[in-house]
């Protein structure tokens, strides 16, 4: 059963079409990857789903309900969490307070929110930094905090925007391991990533886009070998020489 569906979504910024008539479905429990070169419209797709941008045209469905007419803060309430590519920690709050701010979506009680936040912080291996202010954390931990905060809102679908960008291979591995555990806990995931190695290893299906348009979709291996994808990443000359 598909939990999420985007139907012919388009986003225009003035004369620039950032996302052009894009359609895709995400199945319950899968990790769905979106790849594409810089400026191909990946993050714009996330901003459209999370209602930070209004759609120019098209429709978005979550659990068979249309959601592209909801206000931005309702998206989280119905079960779609997101992280930001450029991390947005609540800087002068501790890690615990950051995650509590997320947990308050489902409870009004300080005690319950704190309890929930502590569980999630442990799940994300951030327990050592529980009482550190977010502004003092290095990038890998900030990215992890971003995920933890979003998990605290109990999402059924999680949008991860370049969670591994800027991490070294060891940190990336830890992040991938965390993403797998989140999926195993029953959360469907859509992930944007630049690093092909990460995407190949983790995604069940991949959508490749360029200039806001779909160029390939399918199993990771199929997409990676697709001539259009090679062309988009490595240029016409390389694609022809192969």
């Amino acid at each position: 059963m598909s939990i999420f569906e985007a139907k012919n979504i388009t986003k225009k910024f003035g004369g620039l079409t950032a996302v052009n008539d894009l359609s895709f479905q995400v199945e319950q429990g899968e990790i769905f990857g979106i790849i594409g070169p810089n400026g191909s419209g990946k993050t714009t797709v996330f901003n459209m789903v999370s209602r930070f941008y209004p759609l120019t045209s098209g429709e978005i469905y979550f659990k068979d309900k249309r959601i592209d007419t909801l206000p931005a803060h309702k998206i989280c309430k119905i079960g779609i969490g997101r992280t930001f590519q450029v991390v947005k920690p609540l800087r002068r709050m501790t890690v615990l307070e950051n995650v509590m701010a997320g947990a308050f979506l489902r409870t009004g009680s300080i005690g319950k929110s704190r309890h929930k936040a502590e569980e999630i912080i442990n799940f994300c291996n951030l327990d050592k930094y529980m009482h550190r202010e977010a502004k003092g954390l290095p990038i890998p931990l900030r990215k992890r905090l971003e995920i933890a905060r979003s998990l605290a809102t109990e999402p059924e679908l999680l949008l991860l925007d370049e969670t591994c960008a800027g991490l070294n291979p060891k940190e990336s591995e830890a992040a991938i391991e965390l993403i797998r555990r989140i999926r195993d806990a029953g959360v469907t995931i859509i992930i944007i990533e630049h690093i092909m190695k990460v995407m190949m290893g983790i995604s069940d299906r991949i959508l490749a886009i360029n200039f806001g348009k779909e160029i390939a979709m399918g199993k990771p291996q199929e997409v990676a070998n697709h001539p259009e994808v090679i062309k988009a990443y490595l240029g016409d000359a390389y694609a022809k020489s192969n």
Partner: protein, 317 residues
């Protein structure tokens, strides 16, 4: 830790209650009452601008509306200005609703500029609606009670109420949401926080208690005119300095700031004459350079630093 805080609070409250036994001179009592009024305004401003991060340069609007609510009841309806303590805060909240609706569409400096303009609009409005407000002539009332001790305790009660209400808001889900909005509005939205609603939940109590302070001011001082109670420099800007000095987004900061500010103001004026305003300029520079978190804020940081050292946790801040 919690018990220590409660004990400290009780100690401060007791000290404030028995203070009039030792301080008898009317001038000194007057200073104490002014400190209380400023502590109330500061605490209110702190909720909206300190915790929720929506810096207001227009709190004079709420203060003035509170004061004029009390004054106009007496001027036009021959009612006791004490009814203003009920009407003033409600009127300030009513005024706050459209202000919120207009200004909360804006972020950061634009919000600050909008509130700045709104405060000035109210001053000009009250100056020129002479039939209703008596304009620049102001409103003079004959206070029924002249005992300064009475005003001291009445004010103290209102301050206690303001501090308690603010404390309860800040230490609830609302408080966490307000600080989240301050730290990053987009992140707050992504966590499902309806940001405009919560900004209003900070604005309304802030306006309520500022209006209360205004109505109390009318009763105590017995004379108001638009240039006093809607003053940009002497109300809107001054409250910012009071809270900056004491500590933004701290429970006791505004009260500490009010005490130091009023006392220093009096000292400067008596010793420096016309040059006293200059000292405030110097003071602002010193705060920004050496106490960017205010007195209460720096104390908090120092305490946390010591706790961490005691707990033996590794790693810097």
């Amino acid at each position: 830790m919690l018990n220590k805080n409660i004990l400290m609070t009780i100690a401060f409250a007791l000290a404030a209650i028995i203070l009039p036994v030792f301080i008898k001179a009317p001038y000194h009592m007057h200073i104490l009452i002014l400190i209380i009024i400023w502590a109330i305004i500061g605490t209110s401003w702190n909720l909206l601008s300190g915790y929720a991060g929506q810096v207001s340069f227009g709190h004079a609007a709420f203060f003035g509306v509170g004061a004029y609510s009390a004054g106009i009841l007496t001027l036009h309806y021959s009612l006791s200005p004490w009814w203003g303590l009920l009407l003033g805060p409600v009127m300030s909240m009513l005024v706050a609703l459209p202000i919120g609706a207009i200004a909360f569409r804006l972020r950061g400096p634009y919000f600050a500029l909008a509130t700045l303009a709104l405060g000035e609009i109210f001053r000009l409005l009250f100056l020129n609606m002479t039939n209703f407000t008596a304009g620049a002539k102001g409103i003079l009332i004959m206070p029924a009670i002249t005992s300064k001790v009475f005003y001291y305790y009445a004010g103290l009660g209102m301050l206690a109420l303001t501090l308690l209400a603010t404390y309860m808001i800040v230490h609830s889900k609302i408080g966490y949401y307000l600080v989240s909005i301050r730290e990053d509005q987009d992140a707050a939205t992504s966590l499902g926080i309806p940001t405009t609603l919560y900004k209003n939940l900070a604005l309304l109590p802030s306006a309520f208690f500022t209006g209360l302070a205004g109505a109390f001011y009318m009763n105590y001082v017995a004379f108001i005119d638009p240039n006093i109670v809607f003053s940009l420099t002497n109300i809107s800007i001054m409250v910012i300095l009071v809270v900056m000095l004491g500590g933004v987004a701290t429970t006791w900061g505004p009260t500490i700031g009010a005490a130091l500010y009023i006392i220093m103001g009096e000292l400067f004026r008596t010793t420096l004459g016309p040059a006293n305003v200059l000292m405030f300029g110097v003071l602002v520079c010193l705060i920004i350079m050496f106490l960017p978190n205010g007195i209460a804020g720096e104390l908090d940081i120092f305490k946390r630093f010591r706790q961490r050292k005691k707990a033996g946790l590794s790693g810097g801040v």
